[in-house]
């Protein structure tokens, strides 16, 4: 028995601290790396799935929309406002002095073809859908859209002119695939 205890004492004085540190650091390091990879893979399941991403383009036929009329379509679960603008609407949008705008952008930079304005119909304040698409809707003080939630007014280019919203209505990525058809997304 006695021999055993002395032996144990001797052993403990011979502990190789460096080796222990190495083992500790490699073990903990690998465990943390493995845990992190697992956590990221699992949390990633909550990101948009393939079928959701597959729905992210929409084609729209513009031919039935007469001048002055509007069309609302869904894209990624959000309303897209498409307006066939009249000449007055185009003029009022392009004759504004950029300096007076809260979120500065020319009308030109917001359209592919001036006759057609395409914007995401989500108020940049807190996400309500502004009025102005339907006949009889209030179009706000600038003839574009009016958000009833907290009173934001958008002009005929979808730019914020008055009210709490900080930014213009977003222009979604889209292109004309033919004269009458656009592809959003």
């Amino acid at each position: 028995m006695k021999k055993t205890t002395t032996q144990a004492k001797k052993d403990s004085s011979q502990i190789d601290e460096e080796k222990r540190d190495f083992l500790f650091v490699t073990t903990a390091g690998l465990a943390i790396a493995g845990g992190a990879v697992t956590a990221v893979s699992l949390v990633n399941t909550m990101n948009p799935a393939k079928d959701v991403l597959a729905l992210s383009t929409t084609e729209v036929d513009l031919s039935p929309v007469e001048e002055g009329q509007s069309l609302t379509v869904m894209w990624r679960g959000k309303p897209i406002f498409i307006r066939h603008r009249s000449q007055e609407e185009i003029d009022s949008a392009s004759n504004v002095s950029i300096e007076n705008l809260k979120h500065k952008a020319t009308d030109d930079s917001r359209v592919e073809n001036p006759k057609w304005l395409v914007v995401v119909g989500v108020c940049t304040h807190l996400g309500c859908v502004p009025l102005g698409q339907k006949i009889g809707d209030s179009k706000g003080e600038f003839g574009g859209w009016f958000c009833p939630c907290h009173g934001s007014h958008y002009d005929t280019s979808g730019r914020i002119r008055k009210g709490p919203a900080p930014l213009n209505l977003e222009v979604p990525p889209y292109k004309f695939v033919s004269d009458d058809i656009i592809k959003i997304g």
Binding site: T4, Q7, L42, N44, T45, M46, K50, D51, V52
Partner: protein, 414 residues
Amino acid sequence: MSKDTEKKGITSWIDERLPVFTFINHNLRDYPTPKNLNYFWNFGSLAGVTLVIMIITGILLAMQYTADTDLAFDSVERIMRDVNNGWLLRYIHMNGASMFFIIVYIHIFRGLYYGSYKYPREILWMLGVVILLLMMATAFMGYVLPWGQMSFWGATVITNLFSAFPVVGDYIVTFLWGGFSVDNPTLTRFFVLHYLLPFAIVGVVALHLVALHQFGSNNPTGIDVKSDGDTIPFHPYYTVKDYFGLGVYLIIFAALVFFAPNFLGHPDNYIPANPLQTPAHIVPEWYFLPFYAILRAVPDKLMGVLLMFAAVAVLFLLPWLDKHRVRSAQFRPYYKQFYWLFFIDCMILGWVGAMPAEGIYVTISRAASIYYFAFFLIIMPILSRYEKIGELPSSISSAVLSDKFDKGTENYAK
């Protein structure tokens, strides 16, 4: 503010008011643990880790799953094909159920071998059996959710077990279904319960641990801790050992998930549920097979059902069926042999449970069922009275040391 607080800062400030750090220290650090625990004592912590894995993957799956008979099957296929890493999520959860039962069955057989159910751990043991029952209910209902053929017919067969009871049977079954067959109301409630029960398990596990820490772990000799010399602090000795065991376990788990994810499943469950056609050969998941074998061994419907439930219920009575004063099978020459026979018997029951219920298999399942109950109800009480044992070591330390010296191993007195 006390001096102490100023000295040690935030940790002790919190600890004085809410003693979480004392609690951790007491239960996971200094906690005195028998120094001779073998690897079978890893399985409790492995079960705990598996429970956490199941809850995390389950919650993430529930975010993608739809509990509706028209949509459930497709929503699971969507998880497999469209959801980012959805296949991984589902395969972990699916195989996790199997791993959970493997772990818990080993955990139970450990208790059975070393007499961990005896005084003063009777309630600890019974809480364990409650956990087992909750796990079975949870696993059964989880298996129904993908709404494949096996889901549907498994649900039909298992819920119909209750129709065996006279008079009330049919009412119970209609109640369970919420209708006149397994259908949408059944699926909806199974989903809710499948989500709920694991949290009930967490609660019972907490009680299980409170009961465990009342007297501490048993050990391979089954001899009580007599002095400080018999124990070592939980940390670092058993934290490291548990951690190592976890590494080995996760390697096996990952191998199953990545290389054989459907090995333990049934291909029929990839066919959408069809209430008009039963698959030719329906079998439960492997972890229910021994009990299923007992059900089929009995030629009477009610008796079969009762015996199947009794096969689990008898575990509750174990502390009173085996009253032999020695815990560990290590020192009980007869019990040890009957124990291993019982172990083999359970394997045989599992095997015949997967075979068709005809010919020789019926005979085997009957013999095996008889031994299953005889082990608990006849052999254990008889051994409690008559089994003679030799001299026990006086303490854990002396048992451990004499063991080392007897075998003449060099490493201790090198």
